[in-house]
Each structure stands twice: as C-alpha cells, then as structure tokens.
Amino acid sequence: MSYAKPLPVPDVETRPFWDGCREGKLLLQRCTDCGHKRFPPTHFCPNCRSAGQEWVESSGHGRVFSWIVVRHPVPRDIYAGEVPYVVALVTLDEGVRIATNIIGCAPEAVTADMPVRVTFREATPEITLPLFEPAPAS
C-alpha cells in the first residue's frame, strides 16, 4: 500500500536530518563557532552568522509546548482514517522546538509541559518520521 500522507522532500540542508531519522537518531545542527544549536536546518547560524556547522544527536526528550487535536480531516481522502490525531510543538531539552505527532496516549491525555520522548516511525524506505510519546519526567 502506498504512503498517501505528505512526505518530506529532503534538500541539501535537511538531508542529514532525515538520514539521521532513518538511523533512529534525532539530529540537530550545532554551530562550530558559537555552539548555538538550531532547528530547522539553515546554512547560517542566526546567532553569529557562521556557516560552520556540525550535526549532534538530541537527547530525544522534551516537553509539549502546545498541541492541537485534528478532528476534521484535510484533505479528507488522506486523513479520514487518521482523525482524531494530535499535532504538537515539542520543546526539546536542547531548547529548540519541533513539530510532531504525539502517539501512545489518547488525545485527551495530552497536557501542557507533558514530558515526551522521540520514537521513530518508518513511512517509506527513505523517510522515517520523528514522533513523540509520553515519557517519564527526565
């Protein structure tokens, strides 16, 4: 069965992130000049304008910053069987924010600042998505 939901199109800046997900690692960029960690990927460091960067593995732990529960599917043909689902902004322990789905609990169980940890779900042989599930407080 083909995967119908939107798939990331990795580009020259983002490919290491998606390669990392496929290998079960949540990778962030770190500036080699000032140490600032950033996400989503960019060529220049917004803190010091350096183009020097390396990829470092996130702890994979964070907290729910905000969330929504999608009940009306858009587009209907793709998401009719998925609702209700939770989309969240998670603030990782490293301080950056990432959009994701919260799985492994009822939508009603999601709360502000809830501790969560990354879990990976393969969408296609090339793309694995970083999702999050409830975690014991770290």
């Binding site: 939107p6 989503p40 969330w67 929504i68 009940r71 587009p75 989309v87 959009a99 939508p107």
Partner: protein, 385 residues
C-alpha cells in the same frame, strides 16, 4: 516609522458582491471593485496611475486589471506575494509610492475566488518542500490547524476559554445581521457556538472565517486632492508593518517564534501609535483581523488595549459590541461578512468614518483602527475622519 501622518487619504472604496461561487474570473472581480472605488471617489479611470495588490498565487497581476479597465498611463504596479498580513501594508505602500512621486492616484485591491477557486483554507503544498517538510508530514497543513496551535498556547498561559472565543463570534455575527454585504446574517447564540462542530481542537467551526469569492478596492491619493473629491476624505493618520524576530520562512512557519501566545501586533505597536500620535485610548472603534476568533485577542493585547493575557476578559461584558465602548468589526468581520483577506476591514472603516454605514453606523466615530495579519507578521493603520 511611517512619517506621512494625515498627508494621504482614502478617497474611494468599492467592492463586488461576496459569494461562494462568483462564476467570474478573478480579474473581472478585481476590475469591478477597482472601477467601483474610482467611481466612488468621483474620479475617472484616466486619473488613476498606480496599482498595489497582494495575493497568494490565487489572483491576477495588477497590470491585467489596469489593462481590462483601460488605464492609459500606469506609472506604478506592484503585486506582493503575501497573505492577510499585507492588507494594510498595501495602503501604506500606496501613500509611500505617491510621496516618492512614482504615481499620483493609486488603487489598492484584493481579489479572489476564495471558495470556488483556490481555497486558502484547504491546505498547503502536500509535497512538503522547504520548511513545509517539517510541518506537513505530521498532518499540520491548514491555517486553522496552524492558528489553533497558537490559541492553545494562550489557553495554557492565560486560561482563555471557549466561551470567550464564542463571545467574539456571536458579537461579529450580530453586526453582520445589519450588513447587506455579509455572507452570514443569521444571528447566533453562545449555545450555537458551543454546539458547532469541533474542527481542530480548540477551534470549532464558528471560530473559523468564511471562504469568499469577491474583491475590494480603495483609492489612495494626497489629502489636499482628496478634499476636492466627492466624499469626506478618510485620512491615514498612522501605520506600521512588521513582526519582530523569527517571522519564519513563510506565513505558516512559526517553529522559531518565541512565544505563540503573542503575535506580530506587540512588535508593531510602538511604531503604529507613534506614527499616528495616538494611543489605544484615542481609538473610537476597530476592525481587527479575524481569520479566527482567537487572533482578535492577540491583537488587542499586543496593541495595548489591555494587558497581555487579559484579552479574553477584556472582550466580555459588551465592551466590543456596536453600542459598547470599543466596537469591533462592525461589518461582521472575516468571520461573518466574508474573507477578502482583510481589505474588507478597510472598506468598513472608511464607511464608518464617513458616517455612511447605514443601520450599523456607530455614532460619532472619528478614529478607527484597522489591522491585518494574525501570526508572525502583519500591518495596522489608524484612520481618521
């Protein structure tokens, strides 16, 4: 900072019917609204020499409108690739263009088949290129879904409630009852609001604006020239456009926005009020960008009408009703009049300031705030009679 206080004015306004299925080209809607605005000003097509518009790849270039209505000498035309954030910025741009001598009389328009054609509410590029690769794969696709994330944050921080959002929806619908342009004129109650279908929690159907086919246009020219035209000029007292740091890679992207319980408004407030030489206490009424109920709260807070986090209680008790101390969205807003991407708010402001709003006229209006935008960037103006 906008430094042209009261030097430019809106001399004419025009619009098409607002519908779900215009059966017309977007170009012809833009042309109809532009002609109506030119006529309303008491000008001839040959008097117009500039156009400014904005679109989301869902409209037509300004030169095509100028061509259709036969403008003999187009000195300036600019199409911003923008969302509702630009609906006031294009009017400020028109003033700047005239001040620079690039044109003398500028038509600003927004035209769209927003329901029967390209639906902004229908979701984004599903191929997930660019910044979208970090949002769409998680089923985070539509603007209601984007804005609901902001609203939840305000609820977390400040305890904002569904009933408070409902008060906004009910009030604006009540205003639309008296507006023949409005697409939704049936009154609703708070019970109706609470019972409306949950689309993307915390947003119900009645938190979300309409999708509209239609167009609006305004004519901007020098104040002294406007004084010789048909209507009492509506002066552009002040304005601002922007949104501070981390506005993101497109209008949806707010991954790096510092605090989702506040939007662009708090970042432009100082420029706005200083440019107009006024403050919130000087404002008689406001037309606030209401793509969603919640966006009204962030703008009232950000522009200083109340303290941060207090928007929910501020709008209660009839304060924003037509007979209250701060009437809002007297036309019904994007929620009930229609979604011409915020330019319809400017039309309503002009009608109110002219004293020309019929049964929904608020007596004694001398100043009206208009705003445009809901998330990381936006624009606002202070208009006065």
């Amino acid at each position: 900072m906008y430094s042209l206080r009261d030097k430019y004015a809106i001399a004419g306004i025009g619009c098409t019917a607002f519908s779900k299925n215009s059966g017309r080209t977007v170009r012809s809607l833009a042309s109809e609204a532009s002609l109506a605005a030119i006529n309303d000003a008491g000008l001839k097509v040959a008097d117009v020499d500039g156009f400014v518009s904005f679109n989301f790849n869902d409209s037509v270039p300004a030169i095509s409108v100028a061509t259709e209505i036969g403008v003999p000498d187009v000195r300036y035309a600019n199409d911003f690739l923008s969302g509702g954030n630009a609906a006031n910025m294009i009017v400020l741009t028109a003033a700047a263009v005239i001040e620079a001598g690039l044109a003398e009389t500028v038509v600003c328009y927004r035209a769209m088949n927003g329901r029967s054609g390209f639906r902004l509410g229908g979701g984004r590029d599903l191929s997930a290129h660019g910044i979208t690769q970090f949002t769409a794969p998680f089923g985070w696709i539509t603007y209601p879904q984007a804005m609901a994330m902001w609203c939840r944050r305000h609820m977390i921080e400040y305890g904002t409630t569904a009933e408070q959002l409902g008060e906004i929806a009910v009030t604006f619908r009540g205003n639309a009852v008296d507006n023949p342009r409005a697409m939704q004129r049936e009154p609703i109650t708070l019970d109706d609001y609470m019972a409306s279908r949950m689309i993307v929690d915390p947003f119900r159907m009645l938190d979300i604006c309409l999708e509209t086919d239609g167009a609006c246009a305004v004519v901007v020219t020098k104040a002294e020239r406007a004084r010789d035209l048909r209507h009492k000029p509506v002066y552009i007292a002040g304005g601002a456009y922007g949104g501070g740091p981390n506005q993101g890679e497109d209008l949806f992207d707010a991954l790096r926005w510092p605090d989702h319980s506040h939007n662009y408004a708090k970042y432009i407030a100082d420029d706005l009020w200083r440019s107009a030489g006024m403050g919130p206490a000087d404002i008689d009424m406001a037309q606030i960008y209401d793509c969603f109920t919640y966006s009204v709260l962030m703008q009232l807070e950000g522009l200083g009408f109340c303290k941060e986090g207090e928007g929910g209680s501020f709008i209660g008790g009839g304060r924003i009703a037509r007979d209250g101390p701060l009437p809002l969205n007297t036309h019904g807003g994007l929620l009930s009049e229609g979604y011409i991407h915020g330019l319809n708010h400017v039309l309503e402001a002009v009608q109110q300031l002219r004293g020309d709003a019929g049964p929904r006229q608020v007596p004694g209006v001398e100043t009206c705030l208009t705003t445009a935008g809901a998330m990381t960037c936006g624009s606002a103006m202070v208009l006065r009679s």
